[in-house]
Each structure stands twice: as C-alpha cells, then as structure tokens.
C-alpha cells in the first residue's frame, strides 16, 4: 500500500505532445481509473509510472519518494497488460512465480505464495497448465496473479479487459474490484470504456488530448460533467443550445418554445449556452405540468434494458432513454411532453 502522486508530467513523441503537464494523487488503497479516448495519453502515464517510459519533465512520487529515475525492475510496481503478456515458454506456476524468483525468494516460499495468488484469482489448480491452454479470461486472471504475487506497492492495469467478451468482462470487473478491496493495493486502471470506469473506481480522471478534463468520484463525474467533452464522452449526453434567462429568481435555458430550468452557475441573462442532459433524466409529464417541454418522437429503438427514443425537443435533436414500462405505449410520430429537474442539467458558456 502506498500513496501515488504524479506531478506535472510532460511527454512528447516525435513532436506530438501526448502529455501536457498532468498531475494527480491517488490515496493509499484507492482505485483510480484513467478514462479517455484512445490517444489521450492515459497509457503513457501508466508506462511512466512503472518506468517503461521516461517523462520529458515532471515526477512520479510513491509515498512521497521520487522514483522518476528508478529503473522499472527496481520499482516493485505491478503492471497488467492489455494482451496479458504471459510468458509462453513457462507454465502458469512459473509465470506467477517469476517475480518472486527474480527477488530470490526461497523456492518453498515461492510455491506457497504462488498457490495463494492462484487461489486469490480463483484458479487454484492451474499451476501446471500451459498458457495456450487458457481462455482469455483465465489468462487475465493469471496475469493479475503474477502482478500481485510480489505484493507491489502499486498495481497498474492497462486496459486489461478490452480483449474479453462482454460477459467475462463484467465478471472480471467485479472480480478485480473485489480482489483490490481485499488486498488494498493502490490501483490505477486505464480504460476507454466509461461503464468500466464508473463501476470499478473510487476516483475517475477523465483525460482528453494529454490534459485532465475532469476529476472526481464516479457519481460526480457522471452527473455533473464540467465540459462538453466530458458530457459527451461519459454516457453520451444530449447537448441543447439556447440562451440563458432569469424569471422570478429561477434561471432558464430558452430556445423557442423550449424552456429548461437550470441551477445558476455563472453567466448572465442573454448569454448563449449549451446544456448537457442525459437521456435517462427526462421524464414524461402532462402538458400542464411545470417545466413541460414538447417532444416529438421520431424513432423508437429497443435496446434490451430500455427504449431509446430519438426525436426533437422543440427543434433540437435529443435521445431519450426510457425504461420499458414508461415508453411501451408510445408510437413513432407521437407528440408528448417531458421535463427535466434543474439539478440534472449542467450548462456551459458557448
């Protein structure tokens, strides 16, 4: 267990600035996700933390000690790769025990700890198997066991689940989180999958083009995105443009017949703004209800858990996501009314 901090990391590859001064801290025992589209620099941060890459400037601190210039093999930071990187020339037990062998741990203790690690990832009898006999999910568990067996101060996971199919991935999300809680290793998880980040993390850092876009716990990041990028990347929010106005102490975003109540957070009356509203925050209501806005349903798509209702709010396109019972009766072409609570709307100056 250790606290991890990175300070002002900068890195340029071939004149392409991938990190533009990134700083953050992960408290001891916490699970941080670095979330962002591919090419945003999240994997580079991971590689800098474990020493496979050297930053142009900035530093990596583990428990306050600067390790930026320490060689990777001296850092004791566990890394799990996207494609597992298990050694094909060794069986499962030798793979898991490799780190301990490098630390010159006595053979007997290696065997015990390998058994423990295999039990931890729920593959206790797999020691003598060959790597190519394992499924993707099993390989990932073994890779996790191999990274954890040396009791690293920090565990880094580089998109470890992206090669797995949906069901196994969901299982592994749960599993990794459980194991992490059990042993309490400070963990940094890199992913481009927002759902993965939301379900697994204590803390999420959303990255875009080498900068931190937003930082916070999953709920805060999802419900209060600070920028257009954040609202669009996490859960695909609807962006509604309009002008800011105030009536009797209540602020609104107005665009033609559409009026959406918002909580004021800067800006003056008449400012052009964009509001982000998540599809699931719309609720159906009667035309007379307070805050009712006209919605014209154009297309209805069944996604399993919910209906995706594509249509227009006033003149602007929006996607509403509604649970089966509330949208079953709606037909394409219907005109209905919807409202949004002000606390579920965030707006940005254009």
């Amino acid at each position: 267990m250790a606290e991890l901090a990175v300070r002002n990391l900068r890195k340029t590859f071939d004149r392409d600035e991938v990190l533009k001064g990134v700083s953050f801290t992960v408290e001891s025992g916490k699970f941080l996700s670095l979330l962002g589209p591919s090419g945003c620099g999240k994997s580079t941060i991971l590689r800098i933390i474990c020493g496979l890459e050297t930053p142009d400037s900035g530093e990596v601190l583990v428990d306050g000690v600067d390790v930026t210039k320490v060689r990777p093999e001296k850092r004791n930071i566990g890394l799990v790769f996207q494609n597992y990187a298990l050694f094909p020339s060794m069986n499962v037990a030798k793979n898991v025990g490799y780190g301990l062998k490098m630390q010159k741990v006595p053979e007997k203790e290696i065997n015990e700890r390998v058994q423990e690690a295999l039990a931890l990832v729920k593959l206790p009898d797999y020691g003598s198997r060959r790597i190519h006999q394992l499924s993707g999910g099993e390989q990932q568990r073994i890779a996790l066991a191999r990274a954890l067996v040396t009791r690293p101060s920090i565990l880094l996971l580089d998109e470890p689940l992206s090669a797995l199919d949906r069901k196994v991935r969901a299982e592994m999300q749960y599993e990794i989180r459980n194991i992490q809680r059990e042993i309490g290793t400070t963990t940094v998880f890199v992913t481009h999958d927002q759902e993965e980040a939301l379900t697994m993390s204590d803390q999420i850092i959303l990255m875009n083009k080498g900068c931190i876009e937003q930082e916070g716990d999953p709920y805060a990041i999802y419900s209060r995105p600070v920028s257009e990028f954040a609202s669009d990347f996490l859960g695909k929010a609807n962006l509604i443009s309009g002008t800011l106005c105030c009536e009797g102490g209540q602020w609104y975003l107005a665009d033609g017949e559409v009026r959406i109540a918002v909580n004021h957070c800067g800006g003056q009356e008449g400012d052009p703004v964009k509001a982000a509203v998540r599809g699931e925050y719309f609720e159906f209501c009667s035309p007379e209800a307070e805050g009712a806005n006209p919605f014209h349903l154009q297309k209805k798509i069944f996604t399993g858990l919910s209906w995706k209702l594509i249509g227009t709010l006033g003149t602007q396109p929006v996607d509403i996501s509604a649970l089966g019972i509330s949208a079953d009766h709606l037909e394409e072409g219907a005109h209905v009314y919807v409202r949004i609570r002000p606390e579920n709307v965030v707006y940005y100056n254009k």
């Binding site: 474990c50 020493g51 496979l52 060689r71 990777p72 093999e73 001296k74 850092r75 004791n76 930071i77 566990g78 890394l79 790769f81 494609n83 990187a85 298990l86 050694f87 094909p88 020339s89 060794m90 069986n91 037990a93 030798k94 490799y98 780190g99 490098m102 630390q103 060959r130 191999r146 990274a147 040396t150």
Partner: protein, 292 residues
C-alpha cells in the same frame, strides 16, 4: 458424409503427390544409393566388373587414422564456426528485430541477404583477396605500423571464411524467432523485477531456441561437410573430412569408400543434432518450464 470424406481425402493425396515423389527421388533414393554403395568395391560406374558385396570399405574406414582425425577436426571447426556465428548473430538479429524501426527493417535484412546474391566461390575469392599478403587488410595494418602475417592458407582462414559464408543463415533464423517475441513480454519481465540480462536468459533466450536450433542445423551441418573452403584457403594442412570424401570421388575414383565415409559423416551429424536438441530442450525446462 461419405461424399464429403471423399472430397476431402482425394485432393489431399493428389496435391501432396508431387512433393512426395520429389522427396523420394531427390532425398530418399540418393541416400539409399549411398548406403548401398558403401558395401560395394571399386567404382561400378567406371566400367569395372561387378565386384559383389563387401565389407572392405567399412573395415578400411574403421582402421583409417586419417578419417577419424579429419572427422574430429571437422566437427571442431564446425563447432567453432557455429559458436562464432551464434555470438555474432544474436546482437545483429536483435538489432534488426527490436531496435531498428519497422519501416527500415527490410533495408537491414537486404544487407544481411546481400552475400547470397553472388556465388559462394566468388565470396571465397573475395575473402582471399582481402586476406592475402599485399591484400587490403595487411596493407592497411602495415600503414598503421602493425606487422602481421597473412592468415591465408591456415585453418584459421578456413574458420574465418566459413563464418563469413554462414553467418547470414544464423542471423535470419534468430531474427525470425526474436521478431516474434512481443515487446510487452520483455517489459513485463522488467516490471516483475528482472534485470535486462535476466530477461534475456529467462524470457528471450528460451523463446529464441527454435530459431537457434534451425540456425545451428543450417550452419553446423554444411560447415562440417565443407570441402571447397579448406581446399582454397586452408593451405597444406587445411583438409577436412569433406576434402577426404571429395578425393574419393574426384581423385581416387573410389566411390564405395567415399560412400561409406559419407554415410558415417551423416550418421555422426544426425546424432550430434539430436543431442543438441535434447540438450536445449533440457536447458529450457530448467530455465522456465516446458516449451514446444
């Protein structure tokens, strides 16, 4: 079901037939002929009468001091050449596979393959030219004030020329193995606390063994049987077992004896290659579990 089986089986047999016939004609039958000739006297193709079967060739070979001495020397030279090739080829193959940018790899591969574009004989003559007294190498050394004698017409020259000729095979074999080792395996090893050397011995080396073995096969076997190089650059004491076999065919026209010597060389080389395979498999097991 039946129809489908027929469909599957017939073309397979048909498609493989040409290569099987080729293999029979060019490999199996000549080897059998070699074996049969070993038990014949004289040269049956030189118009001599049918001599009948004989063990003379075998007894003569077993008693021949020269043959065993030359065989030993050939194996020693082959071993030395193979070893030098391995030591020189690992860094070169590593550089091409891992250090050079992927888009530049073909250029470096071209450089390695370039010697194959001219005849072996020319390569040897080029080396002779370089090494001879008054040649480029000695002239340059002289200009630097270093007095040296020419290597030419010694066993060292044979080793040098053979290494030069066979190094590309080793580089190509190792390259194909090293290239297949993912960078992330090496990085994984580093993050698990292994130094670069440990990573080489524990991860890279075991994974390059298949390439290494084919490299050894492609270098050791032809070098052990070579006769042109010792003849041209080896000088008076340069003969190898290949030279002796060559003499039986081209000089003393004793085909039967030559065949016996060839068969023995073949068997000895097969045994050595088998042992090498076993030894590496064992080394692999002791390093990192089981491979293959």
């Amino acid at each position: 079901m039946n129809n489908r089986q027929k469909k599957n089986i017939q073309p397979t047999a048909l498609w493989t037939a040409p290569s099987i016939v080729m293999l029979l004609c060019l490999t199996v039958i000549p080897l059998l002929m070699l074996l049969v000739f070993s038990f014949m006297n004289h040269n049956i193709f030189a118009g001599q009468p049918w001599p009948g079967w004989t063990f003379d060739n075998i007894t003569r070979m077993v008693q021949s001091d020269t043959f065993w001495r030359l065989l030993g020397k050939s194996l020693l030279i082959a071993g030395v050449v193979t070893l030098i090739c391995i030591l020189a080829a690992y860094p070169a193959a590593w550089a091409i596979a891992k250090v050079v940018k992927p888009q530049n790899r073909s250029i470096f591969m071209m450089v390695v393959i370039l010697p194959f574009f001219t005849s072996q004989l020319l390569l040897i003559y080029a080396m002779m030219n370089l090494l001879q007294s008054g040649g480029l190498l000695l002239t340059m050394l002289e200009a630097l004030g270093i007095q040296a004698e020419t290597l030419l017409y010694t066993n060292k020259a044979t080793v040098l020329v053979l290494t030069y000729e066979y190094l590309p095979y080793m580089i190509l074999c190792l390259y194909s193995s090293l290239e297949g080792i993912g960078d992330n395996l090496i990085q994984a090893s580093l993050t698990l606390g292994a130094s670069k050397w440990k990573t080489f011995t524990n991860i890279v080396f075991p994974m390059s063994v298949p390439g290494l073995l084919s490299g050894i096969l492609l270098v050791f076997v032809p070098v052990a049987g070579s006769f042109m190089e010792p003849g041209l650059v080896g000088g008076a004491n340069g003969a190898m077992v290949g030279s002796m076999i060559d003499t039986q065919y081209s000089g003393s026209l004793n085909m039967g004896y030559g065949a016996a010597l060839s068969c023995t060389l073949l068997i000895v080389l097969s045994i050595i290659m088998g042992l090498t395979r076993l030894a590496t498999a064992r080394a692999q097991r002791s390093i990192g579990g089981d491979m293959e």
